[in-house]
């Protein structure tokens, strides 16, 4: 009987405890931003970006938090250069969203006083300027393996060397070239702002002509020996605000792989409309904008291909009589060192062009070293010129003239 009482007491107790401690269903708090209205203002430096972000909440404080989160969201998902570029990266991010938005403050370097406040029904909508440490955010994403780290690849193949050239010759474009150059240098690129004055190397001119590219900017880029060249153009425009004359400028830039002529990136940057009698400051502003947009595109395209090896263009001159033998022998030699297929470009009876990717080769000089033992054709291979990823050779025996067919 006593045992029964104890048992009954225990059952009652467990029922009470069980009921009282029944797990409550706790809805997870969604920390993601409600607002997605963000406008990029400017890249304040190579690692920081200023945005005007809108936020929504039941109080001003909540709306302010939402605006700051929205600024982070914008850099991750929207704009001209979202950090999450692929579906896979966006999926990866889903796992870390709560963590990221739960501690977003660490990425924010500055939040302005409110720029706007509006009541919409029961909610408050605010706008603020937010400056975000983009580099820190990128590092976080790489650390979490949301996006792949490019540092290993960079260590392996290095960042591309970049030449900055201009198709037009207006005075304004020099300002744009220099500004883009400064920006890229600040981001660790090896940059050469090409003067485009003086006499172009004769052989380079012939090679450029051989490629069918008559743009002098391309020839200057070839001569500079860079991996990538950026062709910059500037435009200016007059306007009027409240009866006051204004000016604005835009800068368009296209980036190409020098060896292949493949376009890697293209974008346009704009200045604000200002009451100013000169264009220099406006061009600078637009050029900063364009450099910021361009840089992530170049980096992405370059590093994606970097794993497959570095691209080279090889131009071979020989005599008509030895043409077919030299062509076959050079092609064979190139195939033996290439990491993929070797493309044969436009060819004549005595002039041949090839395009290939080679791993573990830093420049055309190294490529020449590799080819030396592989050539099985008539005569020998002689280096006529090398510039970055361009290698110009003479192959065969006897007097070989350099003529563009």
């Amino acid at each position: 009987m006593k045992n029964k009482r104890i048992l009954l007491a225990l059952m009652t107790a467990s029922l009470i405890v069980g009921c009282s401690s029944a797990p409550k269903k706790v809805e997870p708090v969604d920390l993601r931003p409600k607002s997605h209205e963000v406008q990029e203002v400017e890249s304040t430096s190579s690692t920081e970006t200023m945005l005007r972000a809108s936020g929504k909440g039941s109080t001003v404080e909540a709306a302010l938090d939402d605006a700051r989160k929205a600024a982070i969201w914008f850099l991750l998902n929207a704009g001209d250069k979202p950090m999450l570029k692929t579906a896979e990266e966006r999926n990866n991010m889903a796992r870390f969203e709560q963590e990221l938005y739960g501690s977003y403050d660490r990425f924010i370097r500055f939040t302005s006083d409110l720029k706007s406040k509006k009541k919409v029904g029961e909610s408050t909508v605010v706008e603020v300027l937010v400056r975000i440490d983009v580099q820190m955010l990128r590092d976080y994403l790489q650390d979490k393996q949301v996006i792949s780290s490019t540092s290993d690849l960079v260590d392996q193949v290095g960042l591309p060397s970049i030449s900055i050239v201009a198709s037009d010759s207006s005075g304004n474009v020099d300002v744009a070239k220099n500004t883009v150059g400064e920006y890229l240098t600040d981001r660790s690129f090896e940059v050469n702002v090409v003067e485009q004055s003086g006499k172009l190397n004769d052989l380079i001119g012939k090679v450029a002509k051989l490629s069918g590219n008559v743009d002098p900017a391309y020839a200057w880029a070839l001569e500079s020996g860079s991996d990538v060249y950026i062709d910059v153009k500037s435009n200016t425009q007059l306007g009027e605000v409240s009866g006051v004359g204004t000016k604005k400028a835009s800068v368009t830039a296209k980036a190409f792989e020098t060896s292949t002529g493949r376009q890697l990136a293209a974008t346009t940057g704009h200045s604000s409309e200002r009451a100013s009698s000169g264009y220099d400051s406006l061009i600078q502003e637009a050029a900063n904008d364009v450099a910021d947009k361009l840089i992530s595109q170049i980096r992405k395209a370059w590093l994606e291909d970097a794993a497959k090896g570095k691209s080279f263009k090889v131009v071979v001159f020989t005599t008509e009589s030895q043409g077919s033998q030299v062509d076959a022998a050079v092609y064979g030699a190139l195939k033996s060192v290439a990491s993929g297929t070797v493309k044969r470009l436009a060819a004549g009876k005595s002039t041949f062009q090839y395009q290939l990717k080679v791993k573990d080769v830093a420049n055309a000089f190294d490529l020449m070293e590799k080819l030396n033992g592989k050539y099985r054709g008539p005569g020998e291979l002689k280096r006529e010129m090398e510039s970055g990823t361009l290698l110009v050779l003479k192959a065969g025996s006897g007097d070989i003239e350099i003529n563009v067919e």
Partner: protein, 586 residues
């Protein structure tokens, strides 16, 4: 007489609006005051230096008044300059830096210092003339002397994106322009923030003099009251960068109201030559009152009003990051608004309770904030504040009762009077605002006048001797007000005045005046519809003292009078033209 004063108030709006990027700017919901520069081209032009004032002479002996000639005063150069300074101070205050153009130099007054620099800008000059001629001269002066300089400076500033230059480069830029224009760099720096110029001009002032003869202890005593009215027109020009000229932006008028000063002469009838000081005091009070009135109208324009935001909330109090630099005053009302889909909506209003010291702005900018109290409505963090044009002075009108019951005349039992109904008129002013002192916050000084009738006939020894009694009360009181929220307030007041009961004699008897001093103590309750309109109800206890009864051809007799509870309801309207009360404004 005409008085002309010209001053230029230069704001940052033009340069900033055109040059700053839209994305970096606050919108209308978060507007904030940007410090402006006022350029003073001080000169007083006068249509006539004469102030002609008719004299009214009154005597208490026979209680009659009559005209007694005209006095004419001249406004000399020294008074001219003092009046100009007073007008400018009222229109500018601490919220502007001052740039005064003199004959061979320009003085720059900022919050911290005044610096004189040599300059070759010709000063504005206007002696006397009509408003049209004054306006023409101002136009001509601005377009000839200021516009070319301002235009070239602004254009160069735009070229250099001046607003965005680092401080060091700004200094170099100013120095270069200074060399080019032969205008000191400090002056150029002030001109950079330029767009509006306002000049003000006073129309002909009227004067009037009342001399009242009193009999005190056998010697004749003369009270002199000198009133001057001044009307000031403020002409605002805006610099049009496109045409490179100044265009008229607005015209406003400031009225002083009747502004008085008084004096007393014993023994001999006052003469004009000894009253220059009195004239000067009255004239300066009028200039001050006109400046105050013009300023309230100027503040209706968003370009010249103070805006701020609520930067911290603490119950019914809140703080905003502004203070002495923006010329905030104790008890000054500020509206609170929010922006919604339907535009800007006022949600409430508040009053300044503590003004941040300007020294804090330099030493601890984070603590540079003033305290406000919510008076009515609602507010939340980052709501918009806007200054309400205000003088702190109200006109009261209402009705009620006044108890005044006669019990004895000499040793004879008497009766009459009682609780009489009537009209209440008065003026009240917020001493916190007038003196700009927190210790006086919500202390209201009132000047009261009550005119009543309808009391019981006066009887002496049981015989009705006088009928149809009327009563008047005039006095001063101070009220301490406590805001209860939702526009309601309560408080208590105390004061002292004089009561005069007058009744018509019966059966040929002379009329009787029963007079007393009277202390009063009471409580009040009110509701403010807005910072400028309110209703109130007072309950006051009156205690008559030192009562006397006077009848013609009879010696003055002592009287016993009892007071009692009085009730009063009324409405108060804010007034902008405050006349003589301007002399109290600090």
């Amino acid at each position: 007489m005409k008085v002309a004063v010209i001053a230029c108030t230069l704001s940052v709006l033009f340069a900033a609006n055109v040059m700053a990027e839209t994305a970096l700017q606050n919108d209308d919901s978060q507007r904030k005051y940007e410090r402006k520069v006022q350029m003073e081209l001080a000169d007083i032009g006068m249509e006539s230096r004469r102030v002609t004032s008719p004299i009214i002479y009154c005597s208490t002996d026979d209680q009659r008044c009559s005209p007694r000639g005209i006095w004419t005063f001249e406004v000399n150069k020294a008074l001219e300059a003092k009046a100009a300074a007073e007008l400018l101070e009222r229109l500018a205050g601490k919220r502007y830096d001052l740039l005064a153009i003199k004959s061979d130099s320009i003085s720059i007054t900022s919050l911290s210092e005044t610096v004189d620099v040599k300059a070759n800008i010709a000063p504005f000059s206007f002696d006397t003339g009509s408003y049209d001629s004054f306006k023409r001269d101002v136009d001509k002066y601005l377009d000839a002397q200021i516009a070319p300089l301002l235009g070239s400076v602004l254009i160069k500033a735009k070229d250099a994106r001046y607003q965005e230059l680092p401080d060091k480069e700004k200094a170099t830029f100013l120095s270069d322009i200074a060399k080019e224009t032969s205008v000191p760099a400090d002056v150029i720096g002030k001109l950079m923030n330029s767009a509006f110029v306002f000049s003000f001009y006073a129309h002909e002032s009227g004067g009037s003099i009342t001399i009242t003869r009193l009999s005190l202890g056998g010697l004749p005593v003369f009270n002199i009251s000198f009133s001057v009215s001044m009307r000031v027109k403020v002409l605002i020009h805006r610099f049009d960068a496109e045409s490179g000229k100044f265009v008229v932006y607005d015209e406003i008028v400031g009225e002083s109201g009747s502004s008085s000063a008084s004096d007393r002469v014993v023994g001999v009838f006052p003469i004009q030559t000894s009253q220059d000081n009195l004239f000067e005091r009255a004239y300066m009070t009028a200039a001050k009152a006109a400046g105050i009135h013009a300023n309230t109208k100027l503040k209706e324009d968003d370009n010249f009003s103070i805006f701020g935001t609520i930067d911290e909330v603490d119950g019914r109090y809140f703080y905003s990051n502004m203070g002495e630099n923006e010329d905030l005053r104790i008890d000054a009302p500020y509206t609170i608004s929010q922006t919604t889909d339907n535009g800007k909506q006022q949600t409430g209003w508040s009053k300044v309770r503590a003004v941040a010291d300007s020294d804090l702005y330099k030493t601890s900018p984070g603590e540079y904030r003033s305290q406000f109290q919510l008076v009515d409505g609602a507010m939340e963090y980052k709501d918009q504040l806007r200054e309400v044009p205000w003088t702190g002075v109200f006109f009261n009108i209402g009705g009620g009762t006044l108890p005044y019951t006669l019990e004895k005349i000499d040793q004879d039992p008497a009766a009459g009077g009682g609780s009489m109904g009537g009209l209440f008129l008065g003026v009240k002013m917020d001493l916190g605002y007038m003196f700009n002192k927190a210790a006086f916050s919500e202390k209201w000084l009132a000047l009261d006048l009550f005119l009543g009738a309808g009391g019981e006939d006066i009887s002496r020894n049981g015989v009705v001797t006088h009928t149809a009694p009327t009563i008047s009360y005039y006095g001063l009181s101070v009220a301490h007000r406590y805001n209860l929220g939702s526009g309601l307030y309560t408080g208590f007041n105390y004061g002292y005045g004089g009561i005069d009961l007058n009744a018509v004699g019966k059966n040929g008897a002379a009329e009787i005046d029963v007079k007393s001093g009277a202390f009063k103590l009471g409580a009040n309750l009110g509701y403010m519809f807005s910072p400028t309109t309110e209703i109130f109800a007072n309950v006051d206890y009156y205690e008559p003292v030192a009562s006397t009864a006077e009848q013609k051809d009879a010696p003055t007799a002592n009287a016993d009078v009892v007071g009692g509870w009085a009730a009063l309801v009324g409405v108060s309207f804010h007034i902008r033209s405050i006349g003589s009360l301007a002399s109290m404004m600090r």
